[in-house]
Symmetry: C2
Subunit: 368 residues, 2 copies
């Protein structure tokens, strides 16, 4: 069944939706207050540039949180029958907004769990949503046929729709998306003015922990503000946890910096227990994160391979991996300052590791 | 010049050093209080199992922080002339210990920046230290010829020796290694008992941020305790930063959870500024981390490629990459719960991206 879609906002997400639907049964319009962005999206093939002259089945609002209310009001006026959805990282606020503007019964909020550190139509990708969850909030007054049209959009974009209540969604992303962003930014912020010695000793652990600190501060400020009520207590709890750890560490420190002698006292043992409990809690929490394909996290075996930093080396490596028939679940390349040799870490199922290592050995790779 | 080495402790690091020196000009002995570990290390080829009957050029202490003092005292008695080094993650405490035991003039502490989440001789790798920094603390009373023998060891293990003062080292690792461990564990700890909805929405950002939370709590407790004096104020500062953010977010939250109307007030604007300053600081700190080969961090272009989850897919992909002549600086595989298609993100220099994308397109890959 052919459907019509008006995208409002030709940024990364709006343009990517248009591109994703290029070969699907949707007729798509894409509008943006910024005319050059709107034109670019049209040229890229994300839809007809501008506003649809007729009412549409669905209007997808792809604008920043601060513009949502105004754009939603305009949409209600232009398209009196269309279902309205959005792509914001938080879902309670758009729902409340829709009810306030009197379009609660035709609003179904959405949140594709996809994005990039780059933004704008130029960064758009037809496959941005492939295999990603797309949260759909059916918690409003909208009927099932309106939920279904948003679900169809998610499916046609290649995503996995996931029906979730708006407040449950916001609590979830506060924990699994906004809180990690807070922690990454906080740790990265401590690096400003750091000694070059410290930076030279930085390894993959630091790099992974702070990777998302490279994200756009202005956008994330809006997201944090919009989810402030849910996020504030989580950040407060994190701060309290760390303050407790700092106190325990302060109690465990000796003036000479050695800690020596301390471990034999009762208070020393209490400090050890506090710290180990903190770290153990982290390890247990880490184990809660599901692995690939929604399955519970598996303890993969990591096979590290020494690899020269030269063209074709990865191609040769993966030719060997293919011969071994191993399914690589994850890859990491370890960078090493000032050295032309790197380490590629291949994560495979434990039962596949021995065969992979033999195949690597046979082809002359150093894997151990 | 042939040298002799006594390794004490047949764990991951000690055994790996022995393996790394297998083809170098060193005669190596490896001892462990645990006889089966000592035997295994010997069988793996990490050296002659047990204690060298004669004095040696170098004794390398590869024992946990809690055993260092006792093992160092034993070493002094057994080998009256040998240079003594260690591999602990902190460097002030071993130095103080050596001076206390009267062997300050022959102790040169070391810290290879290498490790794995697995431990023990079984996890040892001859190439564990390849291309990794190996911090060497020449801050004690030991003369240059003793520093040189430790430097030679690092080089022969494939590492890049880096001379650094003990307190500077401990301050550095507190910032770039111990603080990220604290943050990762703290965030991961918040996941315990989380709603399955939240876990289903978890993406790569969370996974990267908390990856190192999977590390061994007992070992890290000893490391934290040993560096407590340096780490405590950093954790305290992080806690204060987060408490400030929590307060700002609390001030920015409206009872209805929308934040609406708030941004137009003066206090609302102050909250926005506080949050944006926090995030911007994180982004600037992130930019301080050096990239590959010790060069300043480069903004790589990320080329995402949709890839089926089937054997040989990566081999075909990297065959195309090799044809394009592109040098891949980093790779990420994005997992997507419940979907047989994944996304491989190839990081390349911006000037190589267009050529790579053309080559991928020509070979039928979906890369955009």
């Amino acid at each position: 069944m052919s459907r019509s879609l008006q995208i409002v906002g030709a940024g990364l997400l709006g343009t990517s939706v248009g591109l994703a639907l290029a070969h699907a049964e949707w007729s798509v319009w894409i509008a943006d207050a910024d005319e050059s962005a709107q034109r670019l999206a049209g040229e890229l093939g994300a839809g007809s540039a501008g506003w649809s002259p007729d009412d549409v089945d669905l209007v997808l609002l792809c604008v920043p949180p601060s513009s949502l209310a105004q754009v939603m009001a305009e949409t209600i006026r232009l398209y009196p029958l269309a279902t309205i959805s959005d792509v914001l990282s938080i879902k309670t606020e758009p729902q409340v907004q829709a009810e306030k503007l009197g379009c609660g019964e035709r609003f179904v909020g959405g949140h594709p769990m996809a994005g990039r550190e780059r933004s704008g139509a130029v960064a758009a990708q037809a496959d941005l949503f492939d295999a990603r969850p797309w949260a759909i909030c059916a918690s409003g007054a909208a009927g099932p046929e309106r939920v279904a049209v948003v679900e169809q959009l998610a499916i046609d974009c290649g995503a996995d729709p996931m029906i979730v209540e708006a407040r449950a969604h916001d609590a979830a992303v506060a924990l699994v998306s906004h809180l990690p962003q807070v922690a990454a930014s906080a740790v990265a912020g401590q690096l400003i003015g750091a000694n070059p010695v410290a930076m030279a000793l930085a390894g993959q652990g630091l790099r992974d922990t702070v990777r998302i600190a490279g994200s756009d501060p202005a956008l994330w400020t809006e997201i944090f503000i919009a989810n402030a009520g849910t996020l504030a207590p989580l950040v407060g709890r994190l701060a309290a946890e760390l303050a407790g750890l700092a106190e325990a560490l302060g109690g465990g420190a000796k003036a000479d910096g050695t800690g020596e002698g301390r471990a034999s006292t009762d208070s020393g043992r209490d400090v050890d227990k506090t710290i180990e409990r903190f770290l153990d809690q982290g390890r247990r929490g880490f184990a809660q994160i599901p692995g690939k394909h929604g399955a519970p996290a598996t303890a993969y075996t990591v096979v590290p391979v020494v690899i020269p930093d030269e063209p074709g080396a990865l191609a040769r490596l993966f030719a060997t991996v293919a011969k071994a028939g191993a399914s690589v679940e994850d890859i990491d390349i370890e960078h090493s300052p000032g050295h032309p040799v790197g380490i590629v870490e291949l994560s495979v199922r434990p039962d596949e590791a021995a065969g992979l290592v033999s195949a690597l050995d046979a082809d002359g790779w150093s894997s151990h």
